[in-house]
Every structure is written in structure tokens, then in C-alpha cells.
Symmetry: C6
């Protein structure tokens, strides 16, 4: 896979949050490498509240890492 993650440093907490979303999706993409399959799964998934909460949990876990890496943008 091409370079997609060269640093955890971001300018703002919001960019850090968006990086957390990228990491959460990459975790899925490395496991299911076929983009077509991922696209097919998306509609049902995005209309299931529990699936959305689970996705939000993964983002939260990555955001912990990124926030600490940025010394919480203090």
C-alpha cells in the first residue's frame, strides 16, 4: 500500500479527529481489501444505529492515541 500515514501530528484537534476516522477506516480496508465489497456493505451499515455506535467507538480509540501524540494540543 502507498504511504498514507507519515505522522500523527495535526494542527488542530478537529484535524486529529478526522485522522482518527481515517485510521478507523484503514483498519477496515486492510482487512477487506476489496473496495467494491466495502462499498456494497456501506448502505445497510450506515443505517444501523448500533453499527454507527461501534464505528464511533473505534474512532474514539484512535482519537485517544492521536490526542496524546499531539500532547492534547495544549
Amino acid at each position: 500500500m502507498a504511504d498514507w500515514l507519515t505522522t500523527l501530528q495535526t494542527d488542530t484537534p478537529q484535524e486529529g479527529f478526522e485522522l482518527a476516522i481515517t485510521l478507523a477506516r484503514k483498519g477496515v480496508a486492510y482487512t477487506q481489501t476489496n473496495a467494491e465489497v466495502r462499498d456494497k456493505l456501506r448502505p445497510a451499515y450506515a443505517e444501523n444505529a448500533d453499527s454507527l455506535t461501534a464505528a464511533s467507538h473505534v474512532i474514539a480509540t484512535h482519537f485517544q492515541t492521536i490526542a496524546a501524540a499531539n500532547n492534547y494540543w495544549k
Copy 2:
């Protein structure tokens, strides 16, 4: 998306808890960007105890991050 997260610093633990709730919801909103769909999912979700516990777990994860970022408001 417009700026919505410029700092993790809050004046009180309670404001930090409420920011954690915002982050948990943003994790959902970035995944399901259609607000109408999210509103449609809400009633069933909010009457399911396990769904509520899962939401509370995501909040707890974000609260860890925010509390640490605020040096636990010591």
C-alpha cells in the same frame, strides 16, 4: 465540515463530559452524514438499553481523552 473542535480544554469536568458526548455523536455523524437518516434511527435506538450502554461506552472513551487533556482538572 465547518470548525467544530478547536480545543479539548474545558472549564469544568462537566463541560468535558458534555464535549465527550459531542465527540461521540460526531463519530456517528461523520459516518452517516445524512441528518435525516440519523433522526430516523434515533427513536428505536434510544429505547434499547444495550444501545444506550454502547453509546455510554463511547462517551467514556472520549471522556478519558478529555480528562487527561485537562490534567484531570486538578
Copy 3:
């Protein structure tokens, strides 16, 4: 909502544990703001072992935060 969380400092680990329980419940209460609905959900939930384990997990996550905030009551 009225002030309910002004500090994470507690006198003892047990009080910290009980604060963790409060935070876990607040995460639910902010999501389902109707107390009547929450009360209606309680009986089935409290007799389901997996639901109880999930609740215990949220408490454990908050207890991590509170214990660290109190420097582990060392």
C-alpha cells in the same frame, strides 16, 4: 442540566468507583433524556447477564479515568 460534576477527586477508591457508576449512567441519561423511558428499560436490562457485563465495562472505563485523576489514591 444542573451542575452534577464539579470534580473527579474523591476521598477513597470506593467513592471513585461510585462516581464511575454515576458517569456511566449519565452517559445513558444524556442520550435518553426521558427518565420514564429509562425506568421502563431497566427491569429487562438488569436481568440480562450480557447487559450487566456491558454496563460493568463502561464503569471500568470511567474508573480508569477517575483513578488516574486521583493519582490512584497512592
Copy 4:
């Protein structure tokens, strides 16, 4: 509830692990305060592999807290 948690300090990692188990169970007991109900739930729960894994996850979360509180017994 009587005092049951006065310190997170333990003499050995194993005692810390056993304290983590106590905390995981207390999280359940505070949520379902009726011991009879908890006893009734136990058999089915303890024969379900996924329930056991979930219980083990809660223990792991508490063990993180306790291990850090004991400076990892270094």
C-alpha cells in the same frame, strides 16, 4: 454499601488480577443489586463462551488500572 475498596495497592500482580475480578463483579452488583437475580443468571452466562470473553474484557480493563496504580509491581 459497606466499605469494600480502600486501596488499589496489592502485594503481587496476581492479587491485583483478583482485585480486578472483584471490581468487574462489583460493577454488575451495583447495577443489579438483587443477589438472587445475579445467582439465577450465572449458570447460563458461565456456559456461554462470548459472555465469558466479555467478562474477561472487563477484568482486563480493571487490571490496567490496578497495574498502573501499583507502578506495574516493578
Copy 5:
């Protein structure tokens, strides 16, 4: 139970990972103390992808603890 956990220190990250697996299993064994029952549960469990992912998550949580206890083997 006999002594089984006297230290979190290991010589290598791999030994730390293997200790994490031991801790994850001990969390199950303390909850279901009957080894025969655990053995009976194993086959179905080990052929269920979601159960395996859940087990891997518990290991990951313990590995965090052990890695920190060993200062990440730096």
C-alpha cells in the same frame, strides 16, 4: 488458586504477548472454574470469527498493560 502471576516483566515483546494471552484466559477461568465446561465450549467458539476477534481484543487490552509495565521493551 496456586501462584501463577508473580511478575509482568518479560524478556521480549513476544513473551509479553503470550503473557497477555494467559491473562485473557485466566479471566475466563476465574469466571468459569470448571475446566470441563471450558473445554466443551471451545470448539464452537474457535470456529466463530466474531468470537475470535473478541478474544483478540481482550489480548490487546492486556498487552497494553504488559507493554507499559516493560517500558515497551525499549
Copy 6:
């Protein structure tokens, strides 16, 4: 098992992310040691959105550990 984890240090965050994936899979492989069974489970698993999210969560947990071990590649 042969040596497969001698260090948590990586040159880049991306290599750290890829190591996190390896650890997540190893957690499965130690639990289900039969590679044929794992291969058989893969197709259904990789087409289930919730299974993919769960896998991504385990990766996120390991990535926390690895990122901290590398001082967040600062």
C-alpha cells in the same frame, strides 16, 4: 511458535499501524491455531460490516500500544 515479535519500534507510523494489524491477527491465530479453519472463516467475516468494525477496533487498541512505544514518532 517461532520468533515473530522482537520489537515494537517501527520507522514510521504506517509501519506501526501494520504491526498493529499483525498483532490483532496473532491474537486470533493463537486462539485458533488451525490455519485452514481461519481461512474457511475469512470470506463470511470479511463481508460482514460489524465484523470488520470489530477487527478495526482491535487494531486501534494495538496501535495505541505501538504508538506509545514509539513515543508517537515525534
